[in-house]
Symmetry: C2
Subunit: 311 residues, 2 copies
């Protein structure tokens, strides 16, 4: 198949491209705002690979670039979400970008989309672990809002133009090529000062961390093994890791001792952060997919990989 | 209070303004794309009333106009939804317009929003009557998608900037000042030719029709009597009316006989139409509000009012 991957030079996208190239040809479309060319540089000589550096908001370019493909893996987004001072980043780079993807698919008669959504669509859910059919959906971050808006655009395009969609609501994804997030934050702070570590929130925030290869394998498994018009799955592990635990694992892996943990306080890291997340993954488990690594193991392996990559 | 009403010259907005002016001052902001100046003309000499003809996409104008108000009733939308050839109408006039409303509220420190959402956010729900906490939310119309996107923007703004919201998911609203919809469609067709009536779909579509004054009273009741950060209610009646029944009531009221009913066929009127809708209104009923008119009575009264208004 001819696969079009938005955000294909990004953290998760670059891993997805590795898998897709085993069987398919791949076009990566990325504006390199968070993605990095070095993550895909080794494919540039592959005749089944093409890289286009451009923005999803350039509609004409996108429409021309998607032509001739069979499926779009739409992973591009503003995933660095700890900022609520500028309020339209996700509206533009999430919602409107997704609209452009769908409209170019419609015009080019591309019938399949695989979409990276997020557990943030559930907001502060009253039911935990949270299943896919949970309601009401009141996201508290602009990121979550734009992912829910994107899901609803996908749903309406699917209905109106007989497309098919695979929507995956990700847990926190960790691993090699990660460009931001709590592990990177802690590593960077400790490199500057290994005597103290400032933790956003009270450190008791607890979330499921999914290893990036589990994430990509889960997406591909779901895509290959489900065939509704709209297929939607939580993608995570059932257990969680506390932010304090992540901090201690990073400190240990970096070989530091007697680091003074300091806290910004309050129950969450930033406005829009959901401090307690648990995902019900029964639906994709029943389909036949289980994450190989637990949350703690995913964090531990990722710390090692990121430190190796950085040094 | 100083109330700002978007879409205040429209069908539902113009009724809301009548009620609000009894206790408050009102600014109507409307681009008159669906609204009509004649619906609010009788207020123009009222010193507590102000009309601004402008579009929500003119952000600077909107920001300046909202300044000094205490609350926004955000009713403006593209509510004439039977068209899927242009796919970004609702993205612009729904989602992006709502973003502009919220951003201007944030900048002007306006802390309350009352929002007209829709039962279309539920898409083709598997549970009927559909309660507010139903999931998953996969709307099938661009209109429903933009209302869900707007709800999610409201939710994230509320969380980030401590605003409060009242979200009402409307049934089909009918009554005086209606500008489009099935009753108007039938009346217009019969005025041209009273021998036959073309019905979109198979006529078996069945939906709850809520009388516009019940709708506005329900909104105001919900706003005055609930005080969560995000208050959300279905607003409708529990019973429904079939499209064939609407057709026969219109024919009878217009005094015609032996009209040949013809059908475009299929189970729905247009792509994006949800043919079978039933709303669970237990939540607002328990709060203390009940619609006065049943669905059939609402349709009957509305046909009379619209015919009186047109002649």
């Amino acid at each position: 198949m001819k696969c079009f991957v938005t955000g294909g030079a990004g953290f998760i996208g670059s891993h997805l491209v590795e898998y897709l190239l085993e069987e398919h040809s791949v076009t990566v479309y990325d504006n390199l705002s968070l993605g990095r060319k070095e993550f895909i540089a080794h494919h540039l000589s592959n005749k089944n690979f093409k890289f286009i550096e451009a923005d999803l908001l350039e509609f004409k370019k996108l429409k021309k670039s998607t032509k001739g493909h069979n499926i779009v893996f739409h992973l591009a987004a503003n995933s660095d979400i700890g900022n609520n001072e500028i309020t339209d980043t996700d509206l533009k780079n999430g919602t409107m970008a997704t609209y452009n993807v769908l409209e170019s698919m419609r015009l080019n008669k591309i019938g399949q989309i695989v979409f990276s959504s997020t557990s943030a669509v559930y907001g502060e859910a009253k039911i935990k672990p949270t299943p896919e059919d949970y309601g009401p959906l009141f996201p508290i971050s602009f990121y979550g809002a734009s992912k829910l808006a994107s899901e609803s655009l996908i749903s309406s395009f699917c209905h109106n133009f007989l497309m098919k969609a695979w929507i995956f609501r990700f847990a926190n994804i960790v691993g090699k090529n990660q460009t931001h997030g709590v592990i990177i934050d802690f590593i960077n702070k400790l490199k500057i000062n290994n005597k103290k570590l400032l933790i956003l929130g009270n450190g008791e925030q607890s979330k499921p961390y999914l290893y990036v290869k589990d994430c990509v394998e889960g997406m591909l498994f779901g895509w290959k093994n489900s065939n509704e018009q709209i297929n939607y799955y939580n993608l995570g592990c059932e257990d969680t890791t506390k932010v304090n635990k992540v901090a201690n694992m990073v400190i240990e892996e970096m070989g530091f001792r007697n680091v003074n943990l300091e806290y910004t306080g309050k129950d969450r890291g930033w406005p829009g952060d959901v401090p307690q997340v648990r995902l019900d993954t029964t639906k994709i488990n029943k389909l036949g997919f289980n994450a190989r690594l637990s949350s703690n193991d995913a964090v531990k392996k990722s710390i090692k990989e990121i430190l190796n990559q950085k040094s």
